[in-house]
């Protein structure tokens, strides 16, 4: 069973990312579960979401306490939330950041991708609200190998059929540009 935790802020699509990942894995024949940790917070406030992936039905319904992978959509969240909480020594963390993994000084396996840049370049959202979740999925695919790009493409076209192409491009760009520090 693989456990993934997403961090972002309200409106950035962390919950959607968690669900897209689940869908992509589901499409490859895995059992999945994806859920947000819901607050009553408003647009802009920190948000967490979880995905579990397994080869048999998932009975465990708790939150994810020891994620195998952590995905951070917005570095600013790290100012208030300990995104590394519960990470195991061999867990990895994927960050939306223009910096290189090594510059971040985290004691885990770190990957970075400049998802905001990718989104803005492709016209996904705007500078205030770039839509970065598909790019993060591309980075996830490459750095973890858990789902492949075909499945991600399929998941994107199911969940956002209207702008599927651009989103797929974003995922691909991220797939190709993610920098893994391990």
């Amino acid at each position: 069973m693989l456990e993934v935790r997403f961090h972002g802020r309200g409106g950035q699509g962390a919950v959607t990312a968690s669900k897209m990942l689940a869908l992509a894995s589901f499409l490859s024949g895995e059992y999945v579960i994806s859920f947000p940790f819901f607050g009553t917070e408003r647009r802009g406030a920190p948000v967490t979401a979880f995905t579990r992936i397994d080869t048999s039905p998932i009975l465990l319904k708790t939150q994810v306490y020891n994620p195998d992978v952590v995905v951070v959509l917005d570095g600013k969240v790290m100012e208030t939330v300990d995104v590394t909480a519960g990470m195991k020594p061999d867990s990895s963390i994927i960050l939306n950041s223009p910096e290189s993994p090594d510059d971040l000084g985290l004691r885990f396996k770190v990957a970075t991708v400049d998802a905001t840049r990718i989104a803005i370049d492709l016209g996904l959202g705007n500078r205030t609200n770039p839509i970065i979740n598909t790019a993060m999925l591309g980075a996830f695919s490459k750095s973890t190998g858990v789902v492949n790009m075909d499945q991600i493409r399929q998941a994107i076209s199911e969940m956002s059929p209207s702008r599927a192409d651009v989103n797929v491009s974003a995922a691909e760009k991220a797939y190709n540009s993610v920098r893994t520090g391990w």
């Binding site: 009553t40 408003r42 647009r43 802009g44």
Partner: protein, 294 residues
């Protein structure tokens, strides 16, 4: 140009958890400026029950009683009487509720409290929908609006009924002080609350409080949209005090069409639907002008 005349005193603190550009917070902020510190407010389920933040946070510098959704009117009745029994008649007792909590599930309790004539304020912040639960239709949602329970879809199921105007109902019920206001005009809003303070008995004030999250416009436009609501006559400002009715006649009128185009919740509306809305707006404007004329 003179700086604003509104009171400097802040009884709402920063650090609350309202959305960016929330109009409802301004409604509270202004109301408290007019009411002052010797005030207790009862707030039912609504955005305002969440805005102060999770326990142990509070964002108001006055006591705020959290009240079940349907219970605002009754709770201010109890607070008022108890404070009087205690000898604390100088407190302002205020119910502060959303439009769902006022026009729908709280209407009965409101109407009862007003009928009994307690010396209370009831302030309805009208964001024209159930926003805290994610933008559903309320009785106070205007004709034409899309909400999650009036999704347009193939059947064009946007809200088909005209807005239920609670302030009008309160006048019909004989409440001694009834007024409408909106956050784009804080001086007017504050003056109305101050006028209301002069009256012993029930007072009802309906404050239009635009909601970027539920009306689908960018957060920086909150004041602009509030202003346009008045200029387009979609929301009429009036004051009804002990039998006297005064209507604000907005300058620089804007068409209903322009108003409607400022918000995505109306984006599906066709010319005909906009016309229906414009006609209703004109009809009501005529009606209230008449009302003022005697």
């Amino acid at each position: 140009m003179m700086p604003t005349s509104i009171p400097q005193q802040e009884l709402m603190e920063p650090g609350h958890t309202a959305c960016q550009g929330c109009g409802a917070t301004l409604a509270m902020r202004y109301a408290l400026k007019a009411l002052g510190k010797k005030t207790v407010v009862s707030v039912p389920a609504s955005c305002w029950a969440v805005i102060p933040g999770a326990m142990p946070n509070r964002t108001l510098d006055i006591p705020m009683v959290y009240t079940p959704f349907a219970a605002t009117g009754a709770s201010i009745s109890g607070l008022r009487e108890a404070l009087d029994i205690r000898g604390d008649s100088d407190y302002n007792v205020v119910g502060f509720a959303g439009d769902g909590g006022t026009a729908d599930i709280g209407l009965q309790s409101l109407s009862g409290a007003m009928e009994r004539g307690h010396n209370v304020f009831y302030i309805m912040y009208d964001n024209e929908g159930y926003m805290n639960t994610g933008v559903q239709r309320s009785g106070s949602t205007p004709y034409g609006a899309e909400t999650t329970t009036t999704p347009v879809g193939l059947e064009r199921n946007f809200k088909k009924q005209q807005k239920k105007i609670v302030a009008d109902i309160m006048m019909a019920q004989g409440v001694p002080y009834v007024a409408t206001a909106t956050i784009a005009y804080p001086e007017d809003l504050i003056r109305k609350v101050q006028n209301a303070r002069k009256i012993t008995g029930p007072k009802f004030i309906q404050i239009l409080a635009p909601c970027p999250t539920g009306w689908y416009y960018p957060p920086e436009k909150t004041i602009e949209v509030s202003r346009m609501a008045v200029q387009s006559r979609m929301f009429l400002l009036y004051e009804y005090s002990e039998g006297k009715f005064r209507l604000t006649k907005p300058s620089r009128p804007v068409t209903v069409k322009e108003y409607v185009q400022s918000q995505k919740r109306f984006s599906h509306m066709d010319e005909n639907e906009i016309r229906i809305l414009q006609e209703e707006v004109d009809r009501r404007w005529g009606e209230l002008l008449e009302k003022e004329s005697h």
